[in-house]
Amino acid sequence: MAGEGIIRAGWLLIALSGTAIAQTDSKHGEMPTTGNQLVLKLPANKEVVFRGVVNFDEGGMAPAGMMYPAPNPIAFLAAIATHAIIMDGAKQHQSNRQQAEADKVLQPYQAVIEKMDAKAMMSDALASSAQGKHLKSVEATQHPQTDSILESTPVFWMTADQESIIVDNLLNIRHPGDTGKPTYSNVIRVISTAHNAQAAQAYWIGNGQQLSAIAVKLLAESIDIGLNDANTASTEAKPFRTVRYYEGGQEKMERAQLLNEHCGRMILRTLRGTLMSVPKLKTASTQAANATCQSSL
């Protein structure tokens, strides 16, 4: 039960982080150079958080009228308050049910996910990250006084078609003396390219153990993108466009700035200021352009 509580808390943190960052003025591309060594704080818990991707278009209830008993103004207000409580409960129930339905996609992988170790995954990701491989890591209980701290809180998602996994990684960088708001904070989403294998379960948890391997790659990519963003001065304002990409086998869209495209993938900055690394749509021209270059994600 405690583990479930931690998982819920982590998920909630990520789910709300986009908003939180937007509201607390994220400082991407503005990390001041302090000369302090940057160290990665390893996660305190072993659990790796995996969830099923929810379709947010299906939420909510149909419009309906309501007759309130109103013998006097106080009874009328009490009726509205009661109605509000009932509606809130119903909405929460619907939201939980949607998430529970979406999580069913993970049932075949539950045993593998439970064996995953968040600390080992983070260390592996750091080792395979181009920007992070030189960083040291410290235990969550340690509080170095002279080093800058990189905190990484990943939540993984699996698409309903089991074609892709996604990481939403909340990265915070805190310099010594930072209290409260971190110097850099952003959510980086990385979506793996659809595997297009005949049997999804065999692909993810068969001999190849792709579920762990790709989760580590996504985490490493998110750390790279985040560190790059934190260390790069903001460039000229690029136009926002509706960009199409793949999430699993489905075509998705995001209103975003295109920051970079390489090897069939794009890096986007969303309207919320968060970053995404996504697979490009396959067209004749993109396939020709990427013939000699394939992303490992």
Binding site: A15, L16, G18, T19, A22, Q23, V54, F56, D57, E58, G59, G60, M61, A62, P63, A64, G65, M66, Y68, I80, H83, A84, M87, K91, P239, F240, R241, T242, V243, R244, M253, E254, R255, L258, E261, M266, T270, L271, R272, G273, K280, L281, T283, S285, T286
Partner: protein, 252 residues
């Protein structure tokens, strides 16, 4: 008393028959439309309305006032959203049809469909408004109309209480009217609804909902372009043109 009963019955029949009038069902584009003899086609749109908010279910006056008051910031942001991308859809359709060697002309002035006379005829696939007068006026044989009725955000209510989070919506239709007999040759009703992941209440720019809004427009564009397109439209080549420096159409 008898007279009153007849009057009551007449009112009831009128009311029930009004409710029973069927909405136009979708009509697929004929296979030989592209490459067949279609005559000259005009591509028009109605006057694209400003993006707006709606609160269905907030039925009483006080309920609606309370819902409107609770969303003044969202409404104000919604009204600042540009309609450029919807307006450009007409030009995209013209380009797609030109690419199919169809004789096509863009009708620059918006068509005010409500102002057209009623056709007075009922029947399968017959337009309720009389478009035939536009044949001589515009010098075309068929009219392709993009009819946008609402775009923006909708939040369902149960009287005073929200029944869910706001969603981006795009309501309208696309259709082709044969101006010689006022019948629909293609009819595509559009009802798009997109939710925003996470917390939607992010004033003043509402990035989550704004993203959903642009998604709804893009989906509507797909629905309207797809029947005429086999991979040659600007939509299907969108990822190829990402690097082109095009102006940002709002949203931030």
């Amino acid at each position: 008393m008898r007279c009153f009963n007849r009057f009551f019955l007449a009112c009831l029949v009128a009311l029930i028959s009004g409710c029973a009038s069927k909405p136009q069902q979708p009509i697929s584009l004929a296979n030989d439309f592209v490459g067949g003899k279609t005559g000259r086609i005009g591509v028009a749109s109605n006057k694209i309305p400003q993006a707006s908010t709606g609160f269905p279910g907030a039925a009483c006056l006080l309920c609606y006032a309370a819902a409107s008051l609770a969303h003044t910031s969202l409404t104000s942001h919604t009204e600042s959203l540009p309609t450029d991308e919807i307006v450009l859809l007409k030009k995209e359709l013209v380009e797609v049809l030109k690419g199919k060697n169809i004789d096509v002309v863009e009708v620059v002035t918006p068509v005010n469909i409500a102002d057209l006379p009623d056709s007075g005829k009922t029947g399968p696939d017959l337009a309720r408004k009389d478009f035939t007068g536009l044949r001589a006026k515009l010098g075309i044989d068929k009219l392709l109309i993009i009819d946008v009725t609402m775009h923006g955000f909708v939040r369902n209510y149960s009287s005073y209480i929200p029944a869910g989070d706001p969603k981006a919506v795009f309501f309208g239709s696309g259709y082709i009217v044969n101006l010689s007999n006022n019948t629909y040759e293609w009819y595509e009703p559009i009802e798009i609804s997109k939710g925003a992941p996470g917390n939607w209440d992010e004033p003043p720019k509402f990035p989550g909902l704004t993203n959903a809004y642009f998604q709804s427009i893009e989906i509507a564009k797909d629905r309207l372009l797809k029947p005429f397109d086999n991979g040659t439209s600007p939509q299907s080549q969108q990822t190829q043109s990402l690097t082109q420096n095009q102006s940002a159409a709002g949203g931030r």
